[in-house]
Symmetry: C2
DNA sequence: CACACTCTTCACAGTTTTGTGAATTGATTT
DNA sequence: AAATCAATTCACAAAACTGTGAAGAGTGTG
């Protein structure tokens, strides 16, 4: 890794940028495998991995090598989901996007709430029509499972917040990379 | 199979089958929204909601109204994931599929293990190249989040098993189905 | 050994997604 | 009011998915 090359070299800004871009793509791929759509995933990964706190659409388009139109489309679901916030200062002509809240993952867990509600009604409705039998038993069990997971969210979130307070103070000793 | 009501028979077997089929589709849609591919999701939902313990490919094809080829393709990822098991008794010509284990959801949680491992190496690698800054901090935090969730799995699974033992005994009294 | 039957693979067609460039809308500045 | 600049929308092309029918491979049966 490009840390301290001999011959007066230091961390090349280009190399660092490129490494970051690669990481963003891999991260996005992960999210995409997990069901998130491709462009939203890329935008999300990019925003998370960037040092800037806010991003203009132009910057996203440039950083991800796609058209402004693609950004427009990708950003909407993220804003809908409440993951990104669109800010525009009065008298500014450009939108500024930033991640909502300072604890993204707690936010994200919270956003699942409606889905769990939806699941519950679907299964409850289903159980009304299913006649007794192994299938019905499994579906009932599935509803209980989702209820259980849903109910565990509070605990989980609280514990995460505690843990987060502990770890995010020391983002791993910054390897002495002066220069730049 | 069909409840067989006397006389004018209220619960039509057909109606029940149809309701079940509808439920299967909705359930599959849910899974599909959550990132599972459509056909595997349909097969999984079907298998879960059916009373039969095992299913032949032909039965799945018939029940889901798709070709045998589609079943073949849909079943592979499920078997790979370890959700379905393919059995064939010696001297039998057809495969029998059934859900692996009696506690599907514990199984399913367990299957996520490799993914979390993958995530960890990806983020750890990424952190090696990211220079200090807000982006690095967020990525670090994200790795910690996934580690946290992963670590919670054991607890979660154990608690689910406890709860399951409590609820699956009483799959909800079959309603006395008073006139529709 | 040939048949019968099931599962799988393959090429293909229909459908959905995805991202682009161009046109449009909306707002600010001059 | 005209000009300018950013964001969104639209029609379209390219790519990816899905599911099908038909051919192929593997196995028990008569």
């Amino acid at each position: 890794m490009v840390v301290n090359m001999p011959g007066g070299g230091k961390v090349s800004g280009d190399a660092e940028r490129e490494a970051r871009a690669r990481f963003v793509e891999q991260f996005a791929m992960l999210l995409s495998d997990a069901g998130m759509q491709r462009m939203p995933a890329r935008v999300f990964a990019y925003v998370l991995a960037s040092d800037a706190e806010t991003h203009t659409a132009a910057e996203l388009a440039d950083g991800l090598r796609v058209s402004a139109a693609a950004i427009s489309g990708a950003v909407r679901p993220l804003v809908d989901m409440g993951i990104l916030v669109r800010d525009r200062a009065p008298g500014d002509r450009v939108d500024h996007y930033r991640v909502y809240g300072d604890d993204v993952w707690s936010t994200l867990i919270g956003r699942q709430e409606p889905m769990y509600r939806h699941i519950d009604v679907l299964f409850t409705e289903g159980l009304k029509t299913l006649s007794p039998g192994a299938g019905r038993r499994r579906i009932h069990e599935t509803r209980e499972f989702y209820r259980f997971v849903h109910a565990e969210f509070d605990t989980l979130t609280r514990r995460w917040r505690e843990r987060r307070a502990g770890v995010s103070e020391s983002p791993e000793p910054a390897r002495a990379a002066p220069g730049e």
